[in-house]
């Protein structure tokens, strides 16, 4: 049996006396599309920050493919095959779209801190960058400064940077937030395509997107997972309905 892509074991996180994450245990098998939903302030983004190394848990253990990553720095976790996007667009604003994606490609292709070889001649870097840009539909905008892209384009670039390194586990933090219905639909298609053959965990508020994409859904309320199941069961779950979806549903 292969190890799950992600295993959280009784993870706690407190800021001072405030307990944000209060004992989360979660297992996501490899290849699953997993959505985390929950009301504002439930601790969803904090959970992502803990998994990706931006924050260190107060207690508990986090495993990636069976290996402990608790307390590692973000770049160490990224090198073990986990990549994430951010709720507030987090790109390299004054670099071109091309440079944004290329920077995200370099480490995974093994170029590390190479200062002794030119970057323009690296065919694999160029091809992979082109491939990612085609994937996120920004190939025509590659010379544009990332900071002047439209909001939806920046969100696409955010996903492009996240998938560029070829990580096996992808964390997307509200990928469709602030988008129009048409833009969100395009985002769903994009996410479905790029998460093929990967493990995806995403935080999402748009229930249409969630039920459309997710194999399983976990509901985080007040720092605890109150339910974790397939979408059909989550819809039926009484605790979830009162806590989050609204009783009328």
């Amino acid at each position: 049996m292969t190890a799950p892509a992600i295993r959280l074991n009784d993870v706690h996180k407190s800021f001072g006396a405030t307990r944000i994450i209060r004992g989360v245990s979660l297992t996501v098998p490899a290849g699953e599309r997993h959505a985390i939903i929950g009301p504002n302030g439930a601790g969803k983004s904090t959970l992502f920050n803990l998994i990706s190394g931006r924050l260190t848990p107060t207690s508990g253990a986090i495993e990636l493919n069976g290996e402990s990553v608790t307390g590692l720095a973000p770049y160490q976790i990224n090198r073990r095959g986990l990549s994430r996007s951010f709720q507030v667009t987090n790109i390299f604003p004054r670099l071109s779209v091309w440079e944004n994606v290329r920077c995200a490609v370099l480490w995974s292709l093994g170029y590390r801190y190479a200062f002794w070889r030119g970057i323009e001649g690296l065919a694999d870097v160029r091809e992979r960058t082109e491939h990612i840009l085609a994937e996120i539909d920004l190939i025509d905008r590659r010379r544009v400064q990332a900071g002047v892209l439209t909001y939806a384009e920046q969100r696409a670039l955010e996903i492009g940077i996240t998938i560029a390194g070829g990580a096996g586990i992808i964390l997307l933090d509200e990928p469709s937030a602030g988008m129009s219905v048409a833009e969100a639909a395009r985002a769903v298609t994009l996410i479905r395509r790029v998460s093929q053959g990967r493990t995806l965990i995403m935080i999402e508020h748009d229930m249409d997107v969630v039920f459309d994409l997710a194999d399983r859904i976990s509901v985080l309320v007040y720092g605890q997972i109150i339910a974790s199941d397939v979408p059909a069961s989550i819809k039926q779950d009484r605790a979830v309905q009162t806590a989050y979806l609204g009783t009328a549903a």
Binding site: S83, I91, F92, A104, Y111, A123, V125, R126
Partner: protein
């Protein structure tokens, strides 16, 4: 450029020629410059410019490329210089078979060594913390230079004799022209290396860390490591510059590691423009020229220097190179007609601006004379005019120059604004039509 493909194709050859052409032109320029400016003082000036270009470009590896504001970059310049002088003296004393042109390697090693040591401490943090640590390290080294007399030579510094090393090709480097070509060769080499460094995976990640260190961390890079390598390599090239200075002056003293030297390189890089490669080169040439020429012309040259810096910070935060590069889109769009009209507008606005600046200069010079040199008599000579600083008329005249120049400038600036606007519109139109 991303669109380029296929190494080995004719396109690649053309691309290589396109890359090499500016460097060949620069090498030619370096070669013929001393034939055009052949006087002794001009040769000295050119040598100083070459040293400053290397130093300013090494500084920009930190500030422009990696976003690290250092107040202590002279540490690596000076220590590289000291190590070079000591190495030269050892070579001379022990009759070692090492020629002078290789000595900058010692400076490079020294700069790298101390870059690694101090970089390990200071690059853990970016931003204000990094700037403060660099200031502290600069003060630390500057003050120890007055304590560790054996290495730093106390107030007088350490001297050497560049003519006593192993001779190659019959050169003994006694005449300044030979030293100039030595500096020019190393300058070209260092420029090429630093330019190439920007176009490597590491160079691009420096930019990424400058833009958004956190995001860089989430694509696999340790920003501290990127900063550390950048810092060490910047130290290496600063050490080369320090070694060239030591060879040029045959002397190095504690001033070379001091705060003023750190300040000058910051000013040079910033005035030239940290946003692109050519900026610090422009800044190095201009600042070196100003420091030599202005200090000959006036005692208060540092005031003008400071005013220039303030002017750049306020009106052209991307430096001189940034000002020039603003016109690049117009050039790209082949909007030559609008560019010409824009140039005319600049000329129109330049007149009043010159009046204003001239008036300010006379006011500064007269004020300085009255407050410091009044005992030497009431008259001074500015712009070939003899003015009586105790009479009311020169003051009135300059007041008219300053106020009139300012008012006229305000009237003419809208012409520039309009020309700029028109040029942009024309360029955009041309871009769409393509």
């Amino acid at each position: 450029m991303p669109a380029r493909r296929g190494a080995g194709s004719p396109g690649a050859a053309a691309a290589f020629a396109g890359l090499a052409a500016p460097w060949v032109a620069l090498a030619l320029l370096f070669t013929v410059l001393p034939m055009i400016f052949a006087s002794g003082s001009a040769l000295t000036m050119l040598s100083l410019m070459g040293i400053m270009i290397v130093f300013a470009l090494s500084y920009n590896m930190l500030l422009g490329e990696t976003g690290l504001l250092s107040f202590g970059h002279a540490v690596y310049y000076g220590l590289g210089g000291f190590l070079t002088v000591h190495a030269m003296n050892t070579v001379i004393h022990d009759h070692l078979p090492v020629p002078l042109p290789l000595m900058p390697l010692v400076g490079a090693f020294g700069g790298l060594l101390f870059g690694v040591i101090f970089g390990a401490v200071s690059t853990r943090r970016a931003g204000t913390a990094f700037a403060m640590i660099s200031l502290g390290l600069g003060e630390l080294v500057a003050s120890s230079s007055l304590i560790l007399r054996g290495f730093f030579g106390g107030e007088e510094g350490v001297t050497t004799n560049r003519t006593k090393l192993l001779r190659v090709f019959g050169l003994n480097f006694a005449p300044q022209i030979e030293v100039y070509y030595l500096i020019a060769a190393w300058c070209l080499l260092a420029m090429l290396a630093m330019y190439a460094l920007r176009r490597t995976p590491f160079g691009r990640m420096c930019n990424a860390v400058r833009e958004n260190a956190e995001r860089a961390e989430f694509v696999g890079y340790n920003p501290t490591m990127v900063r550390f390598i950048a810092f060490s390599l910047a130290g290496l090239f600063a050490g080369v510059a320090g070694a060239l200075a030591a060879i040029n002056f045959e002397l190095i003293n504690s001033a070379s590691v001091g705060a003023e030297q750190s300040g000058v390189v910051l000013l040079a890089a910033y005035i030239g423009g940290v946003g692109n490669f050519i900026g610090p080169v422009i800044g190095a040439v201009l600042v070196t020229w100003l420091r030599v020429m202005l200090s000959d012309l006036t005692d208060v040259w540092q005031l003008y220097f400071g005013l220039l810096f303030i002017g750049v910070v306020v009106f052209a935060p991307n430096g001189i190179a940034g000002l020039v590069m603003r016109h690049e889109p117009l050039w790209q769009a082949r909007a030559y007609g609008s560019l010409l009209r824009l140039a005319l507008a600049y000329l129109i606005a330049l007149g009043p601006a010159l009046l204003l600046v001239a008036g300010l200069i006379v006011v500064i010079e007269m004020s300085y004379h009255l407050s410091v040199k009044a005992s030497e008599g009431p008259t001074i000579s500015v712009f070939h005019l003899t003015l009586n600083t105790t009479s009311v008329w020169p003051w009135l005249g300059t007041a008219v120059l300053v106020v009139g120049g300012y008012l006229l400038f305000r009237r003419t600036w809208p012409i520039v604004d309009a020309a700029w606007h028109n040029a942009l519109v024309a360029a955009q139109g041309a871009g769409k039509a393509k």
